[in-house]
């Protein structure tokens, strides 16, 4: 088979998967099914069913020892792909060839039973994931050590906290020792320490030249872990190549979807006399390319398009950014910067706000816009919650950590200085007194 080279760990050819929507709801009971059989209505209904292609003609092959990230928007087909590769579901057509022992982690702690103890669940879970009893016996102590739930080993896990359950589940998974590991968004749960453990384990596998397939929304982790990246979009492979290049393209991909820009023709709840109005707002890369995804820490610029009905003297353009909980993150305007725009002629134009570094943790923000006169008395245009800005995770602090809104809203440009560690102790009393005094105002 030419499509399946011998070194390939995973090789798929022309893979397609379709779902028929409406099938389940229509004939979900036996009675209805029998009735439709009698009345022959199923012959007619079949044509009404909508066929959804979760995957369409997907082909690729992954060599042994490769670490590949799979990215894409929700519903793009990433999870379906993983489910087919791990044999959970079957493709509608196409060939799959997987060589080696596969461990697919679509969830942590699959098969845990509330009533069983931690010890029993280790065996049950290990067995479900394909470990033999002897294998679990041999690794049992390591698994328990890794999980950190020694004390509660003989307690039913219904008494465990969700964090303990997660750790136990991952401890079993980390000891699977597969040839091919497939991970789906496991990192989306758990605290920072847990996520670090997950990433370390995957990095270990990579170091052992195991094959790793990693489906994630966490672009920072993908970038950190995977040399190659496959971008799935609408059930097809949109791009397959070097991770940095794929992620860069993925981020810039909004142009056609229009997600990186908002056009305000008839924004609801718009205030102001309308003599000058916002036409649209675009998020652009410093090179001027439309950005679909804004990553934390990146430079970018916001382009405000306006349209003036008459000559406006000395307007001020402003914007506010809120968290999804309504906390004001920042406000800025041309007035804040002391800029004086003497005159705006009738017609259309734009102005750019350049942001050197978007120092916010990944989250969703809403944006409000306004145009007023210099005193803020006359409101020309004001749109509250004009648009949302979704900031994606990035390699903040270049640490590869998955830092998100749990770390707060903003971070400052910063660095640690570790030169004082293991150095000579500093006598705190000898510090110059001026430092501890309040600064003179």
């Amino acid at each position: 088979m030419d499509s399946c080279p011998t070194t390939a760990a995973v090789s798929i050819h022309q893979l397609s998967k379709s779902y028929r929507i409406g099938h389940l709801s229509r004939n979900s009971t036996l009675r209805e099914s029998l009735m439709s059989l009698i009345t022959l209505s199923h012959l007619r209904e079949k044509s009404q069913m909508e066929t959804i292609w979760a995957l369409r003609d997907v082909s690729f092959s992954i060599e042994r020892g490769e670490t590949v990230g799979i990215i894409g928007r929700n519903g793009a087909g990433k999870s379906t792909l993983l489910k087919i590769l791990s044999k959970i579901t079957y493709p509608t057509s196409g060939e799959i060839k997987v060589t080696g022992k596969v461990a697919a982690l679509l969830e942590v702690g699959t098969g845990f039973h509330q009533e069983l103890t931690g010890r029993e669940n280790i065996y049950m879970n290990g067995s479900i994931l394909g470990m033999s009893k002897r294998e679990v016996d041999r690794k049992f102590d390591q698994i328990v050590d890794f999980s950190g739930v020694q004390k509660f080993l003989d307690t039913p896990i219904k008494r465990y906290s969700s964090g303990m359950r997660l750790r136990l589940g991952f401890a079993v998974a980390a000891h699977l020792d597969p040839d091919i590991l497939m991970v789906d968004e496991v990192l989306a749960v758990g605290d920072a320490a847990f996520q670090k453990k997950c990433l370390n384990t995957m990095a270990d596998l990579r170091a052992q030249a195991r094959t790793v397939l990693f489906v994630s929304h966490n672009l920072a982790a993908v970038e950190n872990l995977c040399a190659r990246c496959i971008w799935v979009d609408s059930g097809r492979i949109h791009m397959d190549g070097e991770t940095r290049a794929v992620i860069r393209n993925y981020m810039e991909s909004g142009a056609s979807a229009g997600a990186g820009s908002s056009v305000f023709l008839d924004a609801p709840g718009r205030r102001g006399n309308g003599k000058i109005r916002f036409r649209a707002v675009e998020f652009l890369s410093p090179e001027g390319k439309l950005q679909n995804i804004i990553r934390a820490g990146n430079p970018f610029l916001i382009r405000f398009h306006y349209s003036a009905q008459e000559t406006i003297s000395q307007p001020s353009f402003g914007f506010r950014m809120y968290t999804d909980m309504g906390t004001l993150v920042t406000e800025t305007s041309t007035w804040h910067h002391g800029l004086n725009i003497p005159l705006v002629k009738p017609g259309e134009g734009y102005l750019d706000l350049e942001i050197d570094s978007l120092n916010v943790f990944p989250a969703k923000f809403t944006i409000s816009l306004w145009i007023t006169d210099m005193d803020g008395v006359t409101v020309y245009d004001n749109i509250e919650q004009a648009m949302t800005l979704e900031v994606e995770s990035a390699n903040i602090f270049q640490s590869g950590r998955n830092l998100d809104s749990r770390c707060g809203i903003v971070y400052f440009p910063q660095r640690w200085d570790l030169s004082g560690i293991n150095g000579t102790a500093q006598d705190l009393k000898e510090r110059p007194p001026s430092q501890s005094k309040p600064l003179p105002i």
């Binding site: 579901t89 699959t110 049950m124 479900i128």
Partner: protein, 261 residues
């Protein structure tokens, strides 16, 4: 299907054991009487049927004391009915497993069937005690009982597998199974002897694969019993056919489990 599938079943064989183990653990956990329930069920059935059919209705039992005559059939019947009842929902109850991880799906109903063998064995030990109590002698025919037990397990897996697979698509099955079991009990010679059925209807009833199981056990345990061996043989053939078609249907349906469940 083919050898690839059997290789995989072999590779995952420990999981079958773990599913059975989990079921046994969970069944008696937090139950004060624990495993005693395995005895209470068939004994109560025996007493109840003996009172109603033996004492009140004077049901004939081919010259064997009615309680043991009935109990001998009740042990395999209880196995069949409880496994069928539990296994028919074994896939839907474990839908989370089916959606998240691959393993041979047949092990879910088959695990229930394996777990049921514990209760069955306990019931059989009690049967041996009853034989002594009634001063009945076992004969060489008892050597056939493992074969009959095998047929019993095959029928049970065949029917349970098909019902479990059907239940994934049609949740009606869950409601239909208890009813099905009730009807099935009365077309199987559990509370009455096969000889009570008019001669011309017997071939019709022998289509029932449970007939082979129940009559098979009786002919092993009570060697003096009049048994129509040609009917027993044809019923056994039906039992094997039920097993094969049940498993075949399951294999066909399992490809869609994760999508439909």
């Amino acid at each position: 299907m083919g050898s690839e599938y059997f290789k995989e079943l072999w590779r995952y064989r420990e999981l079958l054991y773990f599913f059975a183990w989990r079921e046994i653990k969970l069944r008696y956990r937090q139950a004060a009487l624990g495993a005693a329930w395995a005895l209470i069920q068939p004994i109560c059935g025996m007493i109840l049927f003996s009172l109603v059919f033996g004492r009140m209705a004077h049901m004939p039992s081919d010259g064997i004391p009615y309680p043991i005559f009935c109990y001998c059939a009740l042990v395999p019947w209880t196995y069949f009915s409880t496994v069928l009842n539990t296994a028919s929902t074994s896939l839907t109850v474990n839908s989370n497993l089916i959606e998240k991880v691959y393993f041979p799906r047949i092990f879910l109903p088959a695990g229930t069937a394996l777990a049921g063998l514990l209760d069955f064995s306990i019931g059989m030990v009690l049967l041996a005690g009853l034989l002594r109590y009634y001063h009945l002698r076992a004969s060489w025919a008892l050597l056939y009982s493992p074969l009959v037990a095998l047929v019993m397990v095959m029928v049970t897996i065949g029917v349970s597998g098909a019902m479990a697979a059907l239940n994934v698509r049609f949740r009606d099955v869950k409601h239909a199974v208890p009813f099905l079991i009730q009807v099935w009990l009365f077309v199987t010679p559990v509370v009455y002897p096969a000889t009570m059925v008019p001669e011309r209807f017997r071939p019709l009833l022998a289509i029932n694969p449970c007939w082979a199981v129940v009559e098979g056990f009786r002919s092993c345990v009570f060697p003096g019993l009049p048994v129509n061996f040609s009917l027993l043989a044809s019923s056994t053939v039906v039992a094997i056919a039920v097993f094969l078609s049940g498993v075949f249907y399951f294999r066909r349906a399992e490809k869609g489990f994760a999508d439909v469940i």
